[in-house]
C-alpha cells in the first residue's frame, strides 16, 4: 500500500513540476501555411520552435497553429523529401506562408535504425532509405519489388512469374552455405518470423524501406543481423481533417518468352529427314504445349485508406484487395488485408501510446510444377482435347496431358497472418523516454491437395492436407536518452527483449477414395484405411537479448556510435548459449569544418567507418544441438505381422553448435553537391563469415549418422557500392531526375576445414548442384571449393563434334570423345558469379506529366542452361519434342555435361516504366493521379534460356535456396515462365 502511494507520488511529482514550469512561461501563437514547390499544401509538415521543444504539424489544408514561448525568434519547418527551412517569426508570426523546396538528400529525414530513430545526417552506418515516391510502380504483388534494383548491394530476384513465388533477397552477397539468406524484415519495429511473410503485407501500405547494410548498423540485431536488416515503416495518419486515399490498378500479364520448340509440321519433316516413321505418334494435331498451359492473366488491386486524427490522436485504417491470376492455368493469388494503427498522446504529450494490427488472408491457387515438365516432352502432334471436347489422355515416361492435370488437380492454400503490437512510451524528463512494447505474430497456413485418378495413366486418386501455425510473442523494455550539452550530443539506447517462437503442424495423406468428388474433404472414404497416414509436429525456442547503444557527436561534426548486444538462444548448444555482438563506428562530417566553409558547391561530405559482429542462427533448427530420436520408417514385426515405427537417432549431438558470425568492416562516404542537388554515397565493405555452418560428413561409426551440423569454415564478401542521384534539370515546368547504383561484389570460400570436439573435419570440395535430365544424374557440376566463389563450375571443355555427331571434349590437350571412350575428360573451374550489378532510374516531369523508367542489370554472370542441354538433343525424337536448335547443332550422341551449356547471362532489363498524369484542382478531390505502367518491358541478354533471372536449382544443401547458377531444367521440377505486365492505375485522395 505504502509503496504504491509512494510510487504514484514519485511519478506524479516530476510531471507536475514540468507542467508548472511550462505554464509559468509567456507564450505567443504562430500560425501559417506550408506549401510545396508547386503551391500545393503540404499535409503533415513539422513545425518546431528553433532551439526549443514544442512543435506541431500541418493539417490537411497545410495550415498550422503553434503555441510557442514568447521569446521564440524562429521555427524550423521540415517534411520528408523537402529541405528544412527556418522561418523568422520575430516580426511576423501569424499567417506566415512558406514554400518548401524538394531535396534529394533527405538529411533531416528521420530514419528508423534498430530500436530507435536518427536523422539521416547523423547516421554512422551504411543505411539506405527508399521512400514511397521512389517505389517501382505497376503490378507489384510482393512489397520488396517496390525497391528492386534501387539500393546498392541489395539484390532482389523474382525467379519466375508465379504470383505465389517469394522473391530471393540477398544483401551484400551470400553469407552462409546452409542458413537462410534473406535479410531480417522488421515492420514497424516488429521482426517478422519468416521473411516470406512480407508477401502477406499489402505493398500500398508501406511508407519507407530502410536497408541496414553493414555490420555496424545491423549489430543491434545480434544473432539475426548477419544477412542485413530491412526496416519497413507503414503509413500513418496525420492529425487534421479525415483523409481518404484510394489506390487501384488493373493489369494484364503475358508470357515473356517461350522456348523455340518444333511445331507439328517441323517435327514431321525432322522425322522424315531422319528416316523415322512417326507411326502412331502422329495424332494429327498441332499443339504448342507452351501456349496450351498459359493464358493472358488479369489482375486488379484496390486499397482504400482512411486516416486522420485530432490533437494528440492520429490513426490510419486501410483495407486492401488483390486478385492476381497467374499466366499458367489454375495459378493465382487473392489477398484481403486490413490494417489499423493509431497513436495517442497524453499527459502533455509525454505519454505516447501506439497500437497497430494487421490481418491478411491470402488464398493461393498453386500448381504442381511437375506438370510443366511434361509440355516439353509431349510431341506437338498430340492434341489437348478430343474432337468431342473431352481431354485426350495419354501416358508415357514423363508424359501426360499437362492441361488436363493443371485443370483438374486441386491445389490451393489459405494463409492467415495477424500481427498486433502496442507500445507505451513515457518521457520522464527532457531527452529520456522509456517504454515497453509487446507484439504477437500469428501465421496459419492450410494446404489442400487432391489429384484425381486420370484415365490411361493407371494412377489412383490421392489427397494431402497440411495445416501449420507459426506463432511468436515478443516483448521489450526500452530506454532512449538523447540530449544536448552545448556542442556535445549524447544518446543512449538500452533494450531488454524477449522472444518466444513456436511452430506446430499436422499433415494427413490418403489415397484411393471411394467418392473422388469429395476431393480432400473426406479422408474416411479411403477404400483402404491403412493407406491413410497422419502426422503432427511441434517445436519451440526462445531468444532473449540485451542491447546497449551509445551515440555521441561533437557539434554534428564528429560522431561515435558503439553498441553491444548479448543474445541468448535456446537453439544454441549448451556450451554456447549466449553470444556477444559488438559494433563500433565513427563518422566525420567534413563539410561542417571551418576550412570547408569556403567550398560552397560541396554541401555535404561525410566519412564513415565501422566495424561490427553479427550472427546468422537461421541454419540452426530449434533442437539442432541435441541427440534426437525420431521415426525412421517402419519395420516388420513378424510375430504380429504388423509394421511398427522404427526409432533411431536422427541427429548427432553438437553441444558446441552456435550461430555463424559475420565480422563486417565498412568505410563509406556520403556526399552532396550544389545544395544536395547531386548526392549519393560510396561504400567499401570487407566482411568475413566465420563459424560457417555445414552438414559435414563424419564417419559412422562412431557417429550415429554420417553428417553433423558443425561450425567449420570461413567465407568472405568484399565489395564496393556507388550510388548517385541528381536533379539534372530543375525547371519550373520541366524536371529531370536521374539516379543509379552499382555494386561490385566478390564472395570467396576461404576454408571448409576445422575441428569438431577435437575431431578434424575437412572437406576440400563439396559437390552441390548437379545437371539433371535422363542419364545425367550422379555427379555434381558445381562445387563449394576453398579459394573460389560458392558454386564454382567444374566442367569439361566442349571441343565441337566429330563427323558422326559425337561430342568431343578436351582431355589433357587432346580432343576426345566422352561416354565409352573417355569417361574422364579434363575439367576446368569456371566462376559463374556476376562481376557487378547496377540500376539506373530516370524521372522526367513536364507540367502534370511524369515519365519514369528504371533499368537494372548484371554483368559477368554465367548460367548453366540445363534446359537446353536436355532439349537441344536430337535423340529425344521422335517420342519427345526438341528445340529447333537440336536439328542444327550437329550433336547426335547423348546429352553430356560440358561448358557448351554454361552461357553468358549478363543482362540489361527495363524493369519498370510508367507514365502518370496528375490532375490539378479537381473540385472535391485533393489529389488525383492516373498512370500506366509496364514491368519487364524488355531484357537484353546473350543468355539463350527463357530469362537470365530464371529460377535456379536448389542446391540441396540444408534445404535452402541459393543462387546456384544452374537453371531448373524441365526435368523433375521445371520453372514457371516469367511475365511481362501492363497496368493502368489511379490514386486519389479526398
Amino acid at each position: 500500500m505504502i509503496s504504491n502511494r509512494l510510487l504514484k507520488a514519485l511519478i506524479l511529482c516530476p510531471i507536475l513540476l514540468f507542467l508548472a514550469i511550462a505554464s509559468q512561461a509567456q507564450t505567443k501563437t504562430i500560425t501559417g501555411k506550408i506549401l510545396d514547390e508547386k503551391g500545393n499544401p503540404i499535409v503533415g509538415a513539422s513545425i518546431v520552435v528553433k532551439g526549443g521543444k514544442s512543435g506541431t504539424t500541418t493539417d490537411a489544408t497545410g495550415h498550422f497553429s503553434l503555441v510557442a514561448p514568447a521569446a521564440t525568434t524562429a521555427v524550423t519547418i521540415s517534411y520528408i523529401g523537402y529541405a528544412s527551412q527556418d522561418l523568422d517569426v520575430t516580426t511576423q508570426s501569424s499567417d506566415v506562408s512558406i514554400s518548401l523546396q524538394p531535396t534529394n538528400s533527405n538529411l533531416s529525414d528521420i530514419v528508423v535504425v534498430g530500436y530507435g530513430t536518427a536523422h539521416k545526417k547523423d547516421l554512422t552506418g551504411a543505411v539506405a532509405v527508399v521512400t514511397a515516391k521512389n517505389f517501382n510502380q505497376g503490378n507489384v504483388t510482393n512489397p520488396v519489388q517496390q525497391i528492386q534494383g534501387k539500393v546498392a548491394g541489395l539484390v532482389i530476384t523474382t525467379p519466375g512469374g508465379d504470383p505465389n513465388q517469394p522473391p530471393l533477397i540477398r544483401l551484400r552477397g551470400q553469407t552462409s552455405l546452409t542458413g537462410g539468406q534473406n535479410p531480417l524484415i522488421v515492420v514497424d519495429g516488429i521482426a517478422l518470423d519468416d521473411p516470406n511473410q512480407l508477401n502477406n503485407i499489402p505493398p500500398s501500405d508501406i511508407q519507407t524501406y530502410n536497408v541496414l547494410k553493414d555490420a555496424s548498423a545491423t549489430a543491434v540485431y545480434g544473432a539475426r543481423g548477419a544477412n542485413g536488416v530491412i526496416e519497413i515503416t507503414t503509413k500513418k495518419g496525420v492529425s487534421g481533417q479525415a483523409r481518404v486515399d484510394y489506390n487501384g490498378y488493373v493489369g494484364v500479364d503475358v508470357n515473356a518468352k517461350k522456348y523455340d520448340m518444333l511445331s507439328a509440321g517441323q517435327w514431321k519433316s525432322a522425322l522424315q529427314s531422319l528416316g523415322i516413321d512417326p507411326g502412331s505418334l502422329d495424332k494429327g494435331a498441332n499443339t504448342d504445349w507452351q501456349d496450351a498451359i498459359t493464358r493472358t492473366a488479369f489482375s486488379h488491386n484496390h486499397t482504400l485508406a482512411v486516416s486522420g486524427g485530432s490533437k494528440g490522436f492520429t490513426f490510419r485504417a486501410s483495407g486492401s484487395y488483390l486478385n492476381q491470376q497467374g499466366i499458367v492455368l489454375s495459378s493465382g493469388k487473392e489477398e484481403f488485408g486490413l490494417r489499423f494503427n493509431a497513436t495517442e498522446k497524453a499527459l502533455n504529450d509525454k505519454l505516447n501510446i501506439q497500437i497497430g494490427v494487421t490481418t491478411t488472408q491470402t488464398n493461393r491457387n498453386l500448381i504442381n510444377y511437375n506438370d510443366l515438365t511434361k509440355i516439353f516432352n509431349t510431341p506437338p502432334t498430340y492434341p489437348v482435347y478430343n474432337d468431342d471436347g473431352s481431354y485426350f489422355y495419354f501416358s508415357d515416361f514423363e508424359q501426360y496431358n499437362a492441361v488436363a492435370h493443371l485443370n483438374q488437380e486441386v491445389n490451393y492454400a489459405k494463409e492467415y497472418l495477424t500481427l498486433m503490437y502496442g507500445t507505451v512510451d513515457y518521457q520522464f524528463f527532457h531527452g529520456l523516454t522509456a517504454g515497453v512494447t509487446g507484439s504477437i505474430n500469428n501465421f496459419n497456413g492450410q494446404d489442400h491437395y487432391f489429384v484425381p485418378a486420370f484415365p490411361v495413366e493407371a494412377t489412383i486418386n490421392q489427397a494431402t492436407d497440411d495445416n501449420y501455425n507459426t506463432d511468436s510473442r515478443h516483448g521489450n523494455i526500452h530506454i532512449n536518452y538523447l540530449n544536448q550539452f552545448g556542442k556535445h550530443n549524447i544518446g543512449f539506447t538500452g533494450v531488454y527483449e524477449y522472444n518466444y517462437y513456436t511452430d506446430n503442424g499436422m499433415n494427413i495423406h490418403g489415397q484411393n477414395f471411394l467418392v473422388p468428388q469429395n476431393q480432400d474433404n473426406n479422408f474416411s472414404s479411403a477404400i483402404d484405411a491403412s493407406q491413410t497416414s497422419a502426422n503432427t509436429g511441434k517445436d519451440e525456442y526462445k531468444l532473449i537479448s540485451f542491447l546497449g547503444r551509445v551515440t555521441y557527436n561533437y557539434n554534428e561534426k564528429y560522431y561515435i556510435t558503439a553498441s553491444y548486444r548479448r543474445d541468448g538462444s535456446s537453439k544454441f548448444g549448451v556450451n554456447n548459449r549466449w553470444g556477444d555482438f559488438p559494433s563500433f563506428d565513427v563518422a566525420w562530417r567534413i563539410t561542417q569544418e571551418k576550412f570547408m566553409q569556403g567550398v560552397s558547391w560541396l554541401s555535404e561530405l561525410k566519412l564513415r567507418a565501422g566495424y561490427g559482429v553479427t550472427g546468422n542462427s537461421d541454419a540452426i533448427t530449434p533442437y539442432a544441438t541435441l541427440l534426437l530420436y525420431g521415426p525412421i520408417g517402419r519395420f516388420y514385426d513378424p510375430a504380429n505381422s504388423v509394421y511398427p515405427q522404427a526409432y533411431a537417432p536422427i541427429q548427432n549431438a553438437n553441444p558446441d553448435l552456435k550461430w555463424e558470425e559475420r565480422h563486417g568492416k565498412n568505410i563509406g562516404l556520403d556526399y552532396g553537391i550544389l545544395n544536395s542537388r547531386i548526392n549519393g554515397s560510396v561504400d567499401y565493405f570487407d566482411d568475413k563469415t566465420v563459424n560457417l555452418l555445414f552438414d559435414y560428413t563424419v564417419p559412422v561409426p562412431p557417429f550415429f549418422i554420417n553428417s553433423i551440423l558443425a561450425n567449420v569454415g570461413t567465407l568472405t564478401n568484399k565489395g564496393v557500392e556507388f550510388s548517385i542521384n541528381a536533379d539534372i534539370v530543375r525547371g519550373r515546368k520541366f524536371t529531370w531526375n536521374a539516379g543509379g547504383q552499382i555494386t561490385f561484389l566478390k564472395t570467396r570460400i576461404e576454408s571448409l576445414s576445422g575441428t569438431y570436439a577435437g575431431y578434424p573435419i575437412k572437406t576440400d570440395q563439396i559437390g552441390s548442384g548437379t545437371a539433371v535430365g535422363r542419364g545425367l544424374s550422379s555427379y555434381p557440376i558445381t562445387y563449394l571449393t576453398p579459394g573460389y566463389a560458392p558454386y564454382v563450375f567444374y566442367l569439361p571443355h566442349f571441343e565441337g563434334v566429330d563427323a558422326n555427331g559425337n561430342q568431343l571434349f578436351d582431355s589433357a590437350g587432346v580432343k576426345a570423345l566422352t561416354q565409352d571412350q573417355n569417361p574422364n575428360p579434363t575439367k576446368y573451374y569456371i566462376d559463374p558469379s556476376p562481376k557487378f550489378n547496377y540500376g539506373i532510374n530516370n524521372t522526367f516531369t513536364y507540367g502534370n506529366w511524369t515519365l519514369n523508367f528504371f533499368m537494372r542489370g548484371v554483368v559477368g554472370q554465367k548460367i548453366f542452361n540445363n534446359t537446353r542441354l536436355d532439349f537441344d538433343n536430337i535423340n529425344r525424337l521422335p517420342g519427345n519434342n526438341v528445340t529447333k536448335e537440336a536439328l542444327t547443332n550437329g550433336i547426335k550422341d547423348a546429352a553430356a555435361v560440358s561448358d557448351l551449356w554454361l552461357e553468358k547471362a549478363s543482362f540489361l532489363r527495363m524493369d519498370n516504366a510508367s507514365l502518370s498524369y496528375t490532375f490539378q484542382h479537381v473540385k472535391g478531390i485533393e489529389s488525383l493521379r492516373a498512370y500506366v505502367a509496364a514491368n519487364n518491358v524488355f531484357v537484353i541478354t546473350p543468355y539463350k534460356g527463357l530469362d537470365p533471372e530464371i529460377q535456379t536449382q536448389d542446391t540441396n544443401i540444408g534445404g535452402t535456396t541459393n543462387q546456384a547458377y544452374i537453371d531448373v531444367s524441365y526435368y523433375g521440377n521445371a520453372f514457371y515462365p516469367k511475365t511481362r505486365s501492363f497496368t493502368l492505375g489511379v490514386s486519389v485522395s479526398f
Binding site: 524528463f429 523494455i477 532473449i544 535430365g773 542419364g775 545425367l776 550422379s778
Partner: protein, 519 residues
C-alpha cells in the same frame, strides 16, 4: 530539487526493469515431436522400435547400388546407356568395365549403407547395455546385434577389403583407422559369429527377417567358401590364402541337416509378392508396398511400356538387363529360364506391345553389343528379369521380401567345397542334382560325376543364383572376374580391381584411412 526528481524518475522504473530482466533470462526449452535419447527406451515397444534400425540398413542391400555393382562387375548383368538414359556420368558403364575410381558416387552410397548398419548396431548395443533396468533377454539382444553387425562387416570386408573396424560406440573418432588387414577382419567376423551363434533365435514366425542361428551358419559358410580369397597374401593369388573347405561343408551341414528348411517345390515361390511362406528362404529383408519401401526391381529392369503387361501404376525405367552369352546358359527345359523376358512383349489384354516413343514393336533382344547406343532399337536390347514378380498397382516399392540367404545356396556351396577339396563327390553330385531336379521338374537332366567340374558348378550357380548379388564374388572365386568381356571391357591389368577403392569422401572425412592398393 530538480536533479533529485530526475534521479528518482529515472531510477525507480530502472530498478523495476532491472529486476524484471534478471528474472527473464532462462532459456529453457521443451521438446514436442522428437525425443532426446535419455527419454527413449522406456517401454518394451520402444525397445523393439529402437532395435529395428540396425536391421533397417538391410533394405539397401539386395536392391539398388550395392546389388547393381556386384552383379554388373561380375558380368551377369549390364546397365547400358540407352539414348540419354542410364548414362549418369558413366557410373553404370564403369561398373561393367571395371573403371571405377574412388570418387564414384555409387561406391560412397554403398559404403554409407553398410556403415550406417554398423553404426546403428554399435549405438544400440551401447544404449541397451547402459539402461538402468536391463531389458529381458539382454544376452540374446546383444548376440543378435553382434552377428547382424558381423554380417555388415562381412559385406564391407568382401567389397572394400581393409575397412575400419569399430565395435564400441564411444570410440574416439580420431583413433579410427583401417590398419586391420582383410585376414584379421575375417578372423574378427568369424569369432563374433561363433561366440554368439548359440544365443541367436531359432527359426520361427517371430524371427522372420531377423538374424537366426541358421542365417549365421549361412554367413559362416559364405566366409569359409571365400576364405582363400579373403586371406590371400598376394592379391589375385588364392593359393597364398588359407582354404577352409571343411569348415564350409560343416556350416552348410548345420543348415541342411537342421531340417528346418526345405527346397520350395516351385523356384519362383521364393520370390513372389507373398514369399513370406517360402520354406527355403533363410535370411530375408522384408519389404511392403505401404510400409517398407525400396524394393524397385520391376522399375529397374522392365521396359517403359511393361506397365501395360503387369498393370503397374507407373512407367518403368528400362535399365538392368542381361546379355545373350549369359542368358544362353539356360536351356529351354530349364524352368528358371522363365525369369527372363525376351522377344515380343504383350499387354495384359494380350495385345502385342510397341515401344511408344519409337513405334518399334516391343521385341526384347538378348544382344547388348555396345555399352552406349542412342539407336532406337537399343531401347529393346537385353533380356529383363522378372525373378521377383512385378506387383500390379505399384511403381516400385513392391511387397516381395528380398532374399539374402536361401537353402539352395547351401547345397551349391557344399557341393563346390566338396569338389574343390575333393571329398565326398557323390554327396556333391547329390546336392547339385537336388537343385537341377527342381529346375527341370524331373531327373532327366541330372549330372553324372563326370559333369562335376568347377566350370559346370560355376554355370549352375549363375543359373540358380541369377541376379541374387553373388556374381562378383563367384567370378573372383572362379577366376573370371578380370577377363575381357564384350562390350567394351578390357582384361583387368591386375587383381587390385577385385577390391573396390575406399570412397574418396570417406578418406577426406577421415584422413587416417589408407586407400586400397592400386587406386
Amino acid at each position: 530539487m530538480k536533479t533529485k526528481n530526475l534521479i528518482r524518475a529515472g531510477l525507480i522504473p530502472g530498478i523495476f526493469l532491472l529486476f524484471f530482466m534478471m528474472s527473464c533470462t532462462k532459456l529453457d526449452q521443451k521438446v514436442y515431436s522428437v525425443v532426446p535419447d535419455q527419454d527413449f527406451w522406456q517401454t518394451p515397444d520402444q525397445i523393439a522400435a529402437g532395435l529395428a534400425p540396425a536391421y533397417q540398413g538391410l533394405t539397401g542391400i539386395p536392391d539398388g547400388d550395392l546389388f547393381e555393382i556386384n552383379e554388373s562387375s561380375g558380368g551377369e548383368m549390364i546397365v547400358p546407356t540407352r539414348g540419354n538414359d542410364w548414362y549418369d556420368n558413366g557410373s553404370h558403364q564403369a561398373m561393367w568395365t571395371h573403371t571405377w575410381k574412388p570418387d564414384l558416387g555409387t561406391l560412397d552410397g554403398i559404403w554409407g549403407t553398410i556403415f550406417n548398419g554398423i553404426g546403428k548396431a554399435n549405438f544400440t548395443l551401447s544404449v541397451v547395455n547402459a539402461l538402468p533396468t536391463p531389458p529381458p533377454g539382454l544376452d540374446n539382444i546383444n548376440a543378435e546385434l553382434k552377428v547382424l553387425r558381423a554380417y555388415y562387416y562381412y559385406l564391407a570386408m568382401d567389397m572394400f577389403g581393409q575397412v575400419p573396424v569399430v565395435t564400441d560406440f564411444n570410440t574416439d573418432p580420431t583413433t579410427i583407422n583401417n590398419s586391420m588387414t582383410r585376414a584379421q577382419i575375417f578372423d574378427f567376423i568369424e569369432k563374433e559369429v561363433k561366440d554368439n551363434i548359440a544365443l541367436l533365435p531359432d527359426k520361427s514366425q517371430a524371427s522372420y527377417g531377423r538374424m537366426t542361428q541358421w542365417g549365421a551358419w549361412m554367413l559362416l559358410a559364405k566366409m569359409y567358401l571365400n576364405a582363400q580369397i579373403y586371406t590371400e597374401t598376394t592379391p589375385g593369388n588364392p593359393s597364398t590364402g588359407t582354404a577352409r573347405w571343411a569348415d564350409c561343408i560343416n556350416a552348410c551341414d548345420q543348415v541342411i541337416n537342421s531340417g528346418k528348411y526345405t527346397l520350395q517345390a516351385n523356384y519362383f515361390d521364393n520370390f513372389s509378392i507373398n514369399n513370406e511362406g517360402s520354406s527355403e528362404n533363410i535370411f530375408v529383408v522384408p519389404f511392403d508396398k505401404v510400409n517398407i519401401g525400396g524394393m524397385n526391381w520391376e522399375m529397374q529392369t522392365l521396359h517403359y511400356q511393361h506397365n501395360l503387361t503387369y498393370n503397374l501404376s507407373g512407367s518403368p525405367w528400362n535399365g538392368f538387363c542381361s546379355k545373350a552369352d549369359y542368358y544362353n546358359q539356360f536351356d529351354n527345359a530349364d524352368q528358371r529360364k522363365a525369369q527372363f523376358l525376351v522377344g515380343q512383349q504383350y499387354g495384359s489384354d494380350g495385345s502385342a506391345l510397341k515401344d511408344i516413343q519409337t513405334g518399334l514393336p516391343l521385341i526384347l533382344s538378348p544382344y547388348v553389343n555396345q555399352l552406349s547406343n542412342p539407336a532406337d532399337s537399343f531401347r529393346l536390347a537385353g533380356v529383363r528379369s522378372v525373378k521377383y514378380q512385378p506387383q500390379a498397382g505399384t511403381a516400385g516399392n513392391q511387397s516381395n521380401d528380398m532374399v539374402l540367404f536361401r537353402l539352395a545356396d547351401a547345397y551349391l556351396m557344399r557341393a563346390e567345397a566338396k569338389v574343390r577339396s575333393n571329398t565326398d563327390l557323390t554327396g556333391a553330385l547329390a546336392d547339385i542334382n537336388k537343385i537341377r531336379e527342381r529346375a527341370y521338374g524331373d531327373a532327366n537332366h541330372d549330372w553324372t560325376l563326370a559333369d562335376l567340374t568347377l566350370p559346370n558348378i560355376y554355370a549352375e550357380r549363375q543359373r540358380e543364383m541369377a541376379w541374387e548379388g553373388w556374381s562378383r564374388q563367384d567370378a573372383i572365386r572362379f577366376g573370371t572376374f578380370g577377363n575381357a568381356r564384350n562390350p567394351g571391357k578390357a582384361q583387368d591389368p591386375d587383381a587390385h580391381l577385385q577390391i573396390f577403392p575406399i570412397p574418396s569422401p570417406r578418406i577426406s572425412a577421415n584422413p587416417n584411412l589408407k586407400q586400397n592398393p592400386g587406386y
